[in-house]
Amino acid sequence: MVATKNDNQIKMSARKVCVSYSGKQALFNVDLDILHQSVTALIGPSGCGKSTFLRCLNRMNDYIEGCIFHGSVRIDGKDIYDPKLDVVELRARIGMVFQKPNPFPKSIYDNIAYGPQIHGLAKDKSELEEIVHTSLEKAGLLKEVKDRLQEPGTGLSGGQQQRLCIARAIAVSPEVILMDEPCSALDPIATAHVEELIDELRDNFTIVIVTHNMQQAARVSQNTAFFHLGNLVEYGATETIFTSPQDERTQGYITGRFG
């Protein structure tokens, strides 16, 4: 099915996205629009291609051996698979948070300062410090770590580490943040923290989140896309998807009949 929305709200749009890994096709003709400053959740059973789709949005699949991409993905109307486009610049615009918290084995400060440093976003030390503080604050971590910015980021708890990773993504002030099951390695309290954070971040960023947890999708997202066996089955407002799904498979999945 084609999921298109009103043009001026669209941040990213994918058309006829097909991806195959070493000959095995993982995505079939996916058309999907991601709305500006909203949270889009990608749900579906394991192996349905939702993570693959997410990674297409900032070309993280480029480095996977044998991965072949067809179709187009546009951000603000520009094709991100254009050979002339610089991938590094693209990733500065589209940040990513991974399933497992993966802070660099450096200090908390250096973890966040790294992105702005390599992109030259801070002119001097005080500006860099400002970015680090703002990012930590936006990620709701500043209060907990402001006295120990020089301690290693790997010493934080799992939930704090994940928020550190979100702060690290925010620090390069991207337009879109992709999150690949950001809470699957966290306990319920840490999960609640991150979910709250996602809700707040919506004011400034466009967020795409892959999740296994349907309640989470229902709680944090405005739009939900349901993937099944590499196909986009249904896409629409989260409320609609969860209350009156059009497709039988969507209904089966959200009611827990399979998945």
């Binding site: 900032n58 590094v88 993966n102 802070p103 660099f104 084995p105 790294y114 390599i118 690290r168 390069v172």
Partner: protein
């Protein structure tokens, strides 16, 4: 009571516990046997090691002591009152050998025949003359005074004192000489002292003057050249192969060949050095430069393999994290992957270097096996290396070289142990968790 849990299983109720416990005993016995075998193999390994080191210490430890004769020598008056006139040439005109001979003869007034005198003089090493000469040149004020000097004994006296050879009229020490030596020992003239010369001299035909400084410096220079080449080249090759190279048939071929090179016998690298560096490029024979290049070639596969393993063990999540915020592939490697892999790379390099340090065969092929007395001053001077020095001494007929061989081996082993310890400490220090 019948257990409903066992319904459908072939085992019967009463037998279950018994069968399991029987099996358990056998399992524990097997575990115990395995443990004992492990302990036994470790014991065998350790005892072999102790046997080797113990044997070396037993044979080589005496080489760290040297026999000296304490002689009082009256030096002639200074004929050159102006100190500026005193040059090595002027000093060497004085017959220091005769001063030593006279001093020794004074202890044995009864010796008259020239033949006996010649036998007596043989107790002192030729090196004693140079020692005395150097002492006077350094401090010309000694001239005209009577000084007590430690004259180095000949290797035969040294070995006789250490009990390694016995006196007999056909041997190195005659019965007559042994009596003189015994008297000198009783008079307190013959003493043993720490053998500093062993660490400050180059090689020599006289065992009592032979030292390992030349070989040690040679080894050091060779290692410097080898590491300066192998480390950057190896790490760069590993980074390219592991991080950037496409995985195809060609890179597979390169990989197989690198693994093959690691297993090539070292003498083959020596032949290569002989043919290419000496034959084709016409580099200096016996020079640490050539030795270093050859050892670098030999170490390169080890460094590449260790570095690739270290790079590969950096978790992909770190790469993803860096890529995800827009680091270019090179920034990912240089800022994140390489710093995390450095301890592993260093460990591999040190182990490779330790192997190269103990390598003899390739150095034989490029002429680092020559008898070289001078301490090498640069990478293009003729030099030899510690293991080659050991090989040379082991080949020498003099009894005194036996202990020198063992002592040099001890020094080499100590250096190797220090290097390996360094590798372990480095790994411990930089080990990071993620």
């Amino acid at each position: 009571m019948t257990n409903t849990l066992l319904k459908g299983f072939p085992i019967k109720e009463g037998e279950r516990t018994e069968t399991i416990s029987k099996r358990r005993e056998r399992r524990y016995a097997a575990e115990k046997r395995f443990k004992i075998l492990g302990i036994l193999s470790i014991l065998v390994a350790i005892s072999t090691l102790f046997l080797l080191i113990g044997n070396m210490i037993n044979k080589g430890f005496s080489a760290f002591k040297q026999t000296y004769l304490e002689l009082s020598i009256s030096l002639p008056e200074n004929k050159f009152p102006n100190e500026k006139q005193i040059s090595p040439n002027v000093i060497s005109e004085l017959n220091f050998k005769s001063f030593l001979k006279r001093a020794l003869l004074k202890k044995f007034p009864e010796i008259k025949s020239r033949r006996d005198k010649r036998l007596l003089y043989k107790l002192i090493s030729s090196g004693a003359t140079f020692d005395l000469q150097d002492a006077v040149f350094e401090n010309p004020k000694l001239l005209g005074k009577t000084i007590t000097t430690l004259a180095i004994a000949s290797d035969d006296v040294d070995q006789y004192i250490k009990g390694n050879i016995t006196a007999n009229n056909q041997g190195r020490i005659t019965i007559k000489q042994s009596k003189w030596i015994d008297k000198l020992v009783d008079d307190g003239v013959i003493n043993q002292k720490f053998n500093l010369k062993f660490f400050t001299n180059g090689d020599s035909r006289e065992p009592e003057l032979a030292g390992i400084l030349g070989a040690t410096i040679g080894s050091l220079l060779t290692m410097l050249v080898a590491l300066a080449l192998a480390f950057p080249l190896g790490v760069a090759a590993a980074i390219y192969l592991e991080e950037f190279a496409p995985k195809n048939r060609w890179t597979d071929l390169v990989e197989v060949n690198i693994s093959n090179l690691a297993a090539v016998p070292s003498i083959v690298f020596g032949l290569l050095g002989l043919a290419v560096f000496l034959g084709f490029f016409g580099m200096h024979r016996s020079a640490p430069l050539v030795g270093g290049v050859v050892l670098a070639l030999m170490t390169l596969p080890t460094v590449i393999i260790a570095s690739r393993a270290a790079l590969g063990s950096v978790p992909p999540s770190i790469r993803e994290a860096a890529t995800g915020i827009g680091a270019s592939p090179m920034q990912v490697v240089l800022h994140h992957v390489l710093p995390l892999a450095i301890p592993g790379i260093l460990t591999g390099t040190i182990i490779g270097a330790a192997r190269a340090l103990g390598e003899t065969a390739p150095l034989l092929m490029i002429g680092m096996v020559a008898f070289i007395v001078d301490i090498p001053q640069g990478i293009n001077d003729s030099a030899t290396a510690l293991p080659v020095q050991i090989f040379l001494w082991a080949d020498s007929p003099e009894r005194a070289f036996v202990e020198k061989t063992a002592a040099a081996t001890l020094v080499l082993l100590t250096v190797l142990i220090i290097m390996n310890l360094g590798a372990v400490l480095l790994r411990k220090k930089f080990e990071r968790r993620w």
